[in-house]
Amino acid sequence: MKTETRAIHLWLMPIAVWLALLILLGLSVGSAYVQLGAFNTPTNLAIAAVKVALVLVFFMQLQSSSALLRLASVAGLFWLVLMFGLTASDYLTRP
């Protein structure tokens, strides 16, 4: 059985990512209270996107995954864009 203390090396990267995520959480909640007008929503969504990207790349190990896995990981999102886009072609052009 391996010496369990050697597992420390496993914590370094994830803790760094976790701290970044918490900072981004604080940023998004804080910025929600700042009067940014039309920019509040894109700001919050952009911060959420960065958080999801951090989870994807580091926690879900996409950085060290094969091209096939990376393709699978964006497939859903790409199809979502198609769904949103074509539906928008209806709602945005309604009289």
């Binding site: 059985m1 998004s28 209270y33 509040n40 999801v52 989870v55 994807l56 949103f84």
Partner: protein, 210 residues
């Protein structure tokens, strides 16, 4: 190593291949989940575009303290789940068990907080129906999506907790070897459920605050 070979299933000839297949399969499943939640997100987006003021008014009634706390809990649970999976992969069984238990605890904490939040929401009458306190009528649509999206997310979390608990017990009893690719599958699913919440936070809790 006999523990590793114990993890190997038909029809795979090597554990590395089985692990790659597990990751690929789970990612495909997560792609379907993106579209599942995406359907609800589409509905939310359409209605928010149609009724921006009603949505802003309605969203102000969500509890930002509960929402932020729960986000922090889930992000931490992703941390512990990551270490649980990596340590299992490298054979650190005890570290893995402690981290799995921590993830279980944090996931349960999320549900407890959510429970309190739902209780408060209902006490404020924020369930769409005749006693709904807000106007105009479109605010009920926001709250309909709130209940559906957080409810579906919670169901995903509960299912994840169930599988997590089962795998923790099996690992403890040495019925499941730590090298099993199942831990990778579970971890991917867990991080996904976390990511969904990260997206729900700005949509449900952070509009109409300024």
């Amino acid at each position: 190593m006999s523990e590793a070979s114990h993890a190997l299933n038909d029809p795979w000839s090597t554990l590395a291949r089985q692990r790659a297949a597990m990751s690929f399969g789970v990612w495909l499943f997560l792609a379907s989940e993106v579209l599942f939640f995406g359907g609800a997100l589409l509905g939310y987006t359409i209605y928010r575009d149609l009724y921006p003021d009603a949505f802003r008014l309605a969203a102000r009634e969500t509890d930002i303290v509960y929402g932020t706390l729960n986000t922090a809990i889930l992000l931490t649970s992703s941390l512990t789940m990551f270490v649980a999976e990596r340590s299992a992969h490298e054979g650190f069984r005890r570290t893995s068990l402690w981290c799995l238990a921590a993830t279980l605890a944090l996931g349960s904490a999320f549900l407890v907080v959510k429970g309190f939040e739902y209780y408060d929401d209902i006490a404020k009458g924020l369930f769409p129906g005749p006693a709904f306190p807000l106007q105009p009528a479109q605010t009920q649509i926001f709250w309909a999506f709130y209940w559906v999206m957080t409810g579906v997310h919670a169901i995903h979390l509960i299912l994840g907790l169930g599988i997590l608990a089962a795998m923790t017990v099996l690992l403890y009893r040495r019925a499941l070897p730590p090298q099993s690719p199942s831990f990778q599958g579970l971890a991917l699913y867990w991080h996904f459920v976390d990511s969904v919440w990260v997206v729900l936070l700005p949509l449900l809790y952070l509009i109409g605050r300024a």
